[in-house]
Symmetry: C2
Subunit: 207 residues, 2 copies
């Protein structure tokens, strides 16, 4: 694996566990198996640039999970509920540590580190864009797709926080059930096309 990637990956791991301010460069160096000097050789911008790279890397990886998990379900609403159940399981398996670094970093640095906030906004923007495009391919109207992806992301990020604090999977299940109901209500509103059994995905029209 590329050294840059290894550093960014280690940073992402630390960010989601303890946030940006609490993560030290020396701690990162230890975690990444690289001396301090190497960190600054690969990322001349220092801690901030490493964090930015970590956010971008994580953001790209996370959004891929959406079609990966949802394509397995013909019923979109049920798929979304399963997605939340999966997130809950991951969270529990990692000892309630598996926060999303983008959320953590955004919450603590939006006012103090403008560059990181912009990177976070960029990542979230791709989430919304990619996600709403996917939901459109699953038969939702464009405005509904956007609403659903915002609802899913908000509920996920929030459930991460609640679950992390309470050490309970309940937030995920509640959020999943809620959005499942909403998506189901959208599907029944348009009895035109049943839209069932469709497996094609990944094909995207240029923007």
């Amino acid at each position: 694996m590329d050294t840059d990637e290894r550093i960014a990956l280690a940073m992402a791991e630390l960010l989601r566990k303890q946030g940006y301010a609490a993560t030290g460069i020396n701690q990162l160096a230890r975690a990444a198996g690289a001396p301090t000097g190497s960190l600054y050789h690969h990322f001349k911008g220092g801690k901030r640039e490493i964090a930015a790279a970590a956010l971008r890397q994580t953001g790209a990886a996370y959004i891929q999970l959406l079609p990966l998990l949802l394509d397995a379900h013909d019923d979109l609403a049920a798929g979304i509920e399963a997605l939340f159940a999966q997130a809950a399981e991951d969270m529990r398996d990692t000892g309630w540590a598996n926060m999303c670094p983008v959320g953590t970093v955004t919450a603590e640095t939006a006012d103090t580190e403008p560059e990181l906030r912009e990177v976070a906004a960029e990542v979230m923007g791709t989430w919304v864009e990619t996600g709403s495009r996917y939901f459109t391919t699953r038969g939702l109207a464009e405005t509904d797709s956007r609403t659903v992806v915002f609802a899913v992301l908000s509920a996920l990020e929030g459930a991460f926080v609640l679950a992390r604090g309470l050490r309970s999977a309940e937030p995920f299940h509640a959020a999943g059930r809620t959005i499942k109901t909403y998506v189901a209500s959208l599907c029944t509103e348009q009895p035109k096309t049943p839209t069932r059994a469709r497996a094609q995905s990944g094909k995207r029209t240029g923007t």
Copy 2:
């Protein structure tokens, strides 16, 4: 105002803007208008104890908003949508800075500061308990109340993060609409047949 309260209030303000690790004792002393020594006189536990007090204070204040905002609406579902709209407005008015300190601190310290995580869990616990009790008085079944309060809290905390990063109120509106639909479905549904193709008995505004 009591000095202890003033310190905790200033801490809460800093926590929700920049989190726990990035908030220094000297910065807090400046913000609270008290010298370092006074801080340690009032809170022998230092930074951690002040943060704990801030979380408890904020938590108690926040949960009071729930009945305060929802009692104004006869229609519970509409009230919840209004609650999210209100949160969006506050967020925008404060320059997208108005995070919930409980969420921020939980996200960044759950693994590194066990005492703070426990305080956060205690606060969230009272939110769930108080909130579900309130929803029960509004006519929801007990299990539904619990689901709704978890969904509302998750969506709110998540929308804070998304909105803070994107500087947009859209997450709040999407989350509000979703939960409104869910609550409406709880109020109107007593279906004997699981037919989904049929329109629900209640009226639904398209939006």
